[in-house]
Amino acid sequence: MKISDFWMSMIKEWKRNPNVGTFSWILHRVTGVLLVLYLFPHFWSIASSRWGAGAFDHKMRSYETPLIKFFEMGLVLLVAVHMINGLRITIADFFFLTKSQRALFWIGVVLFLFVLAASILAFFPKIFV
């Protein structure tokens, strides 16, 4: 198994089934892997508290840059995509609504747009200070 298989399987699946189900399956994988990778530096940053208030504050202050605020917004949107799609899968699984997954997908898109708008309102003042 190679890392390229990860991408190839998605491209292959997309060519075979270019529909919203495959699209959200790809999004779920990519966002999921990125969020797992984020967990490591996240725990590492918080663990600076072990070296006292000064070390913790120093670390937190180092993240107060427009670029990192922008990435934080991206992170919130990754969570939003993964959460909305995950809830769609869970609803379809637990309430026998597999046949409505397409409609659920579009409801999810609308929900995401609301989160996107809220994120822009919350983050832009921090990005463009």
Partner: protein, 119 residues
């Protein structure tokens, strides 16, 4: 009995949904506090310890949050890995590594938070 199981199993499937539902709640609260509410501009030791020590709710919150997110993430990686139909030996070693990593990561995350509850 020698067939290759290529699914992640019904427990993994079910736990992924249960931890997922927990995480939806945890992350809405966590991200709201961190990025969408008043005071989210100033995250420092003083404000974080004040919040976390304001109620025992926050200790329970993060004690459940960390293992849920670690399990959910690594079980997701396991599910992706299983899609590539690994052999039995590879499967066993990857499962072992993921469990080890999961336990270590949960302990590390919790250990890193402890000073915020006692300082």
């Amino acid at each position: 009995m020698t067939e290759k199981r290529t699914t992640r199993g019904v427990y993994g499937w079910f736990l992924q949904r249960i931890t997922g539902l927990f995480l939806a709640f945890f992350l809405i609260v966590h991200l709201n506090v961190m990025h969408f509410s008043e005071g989210s501009l100033e995250i420092d030791f003083a404000s974080v310890t004040a919040r976390l020590q304001s109620s025992p709710f926050w200790a329970a919150f993060y004690i459940l949050f960390i293992p849920s997110v670690v399990f959910h993430g690594l079980n997701g990686i396991w599910g992706i890995y299983m899609d590539y139909r690994p052999g039995l030996r590879a499967k066993k070693s990857v499962l072992f590594i993921l469990w080890l990593l999961g336990i270590a990561l949960t302990m590390y995350g919790t250990w890193g938070l402890i000073p915020l509850f006692y300082a």
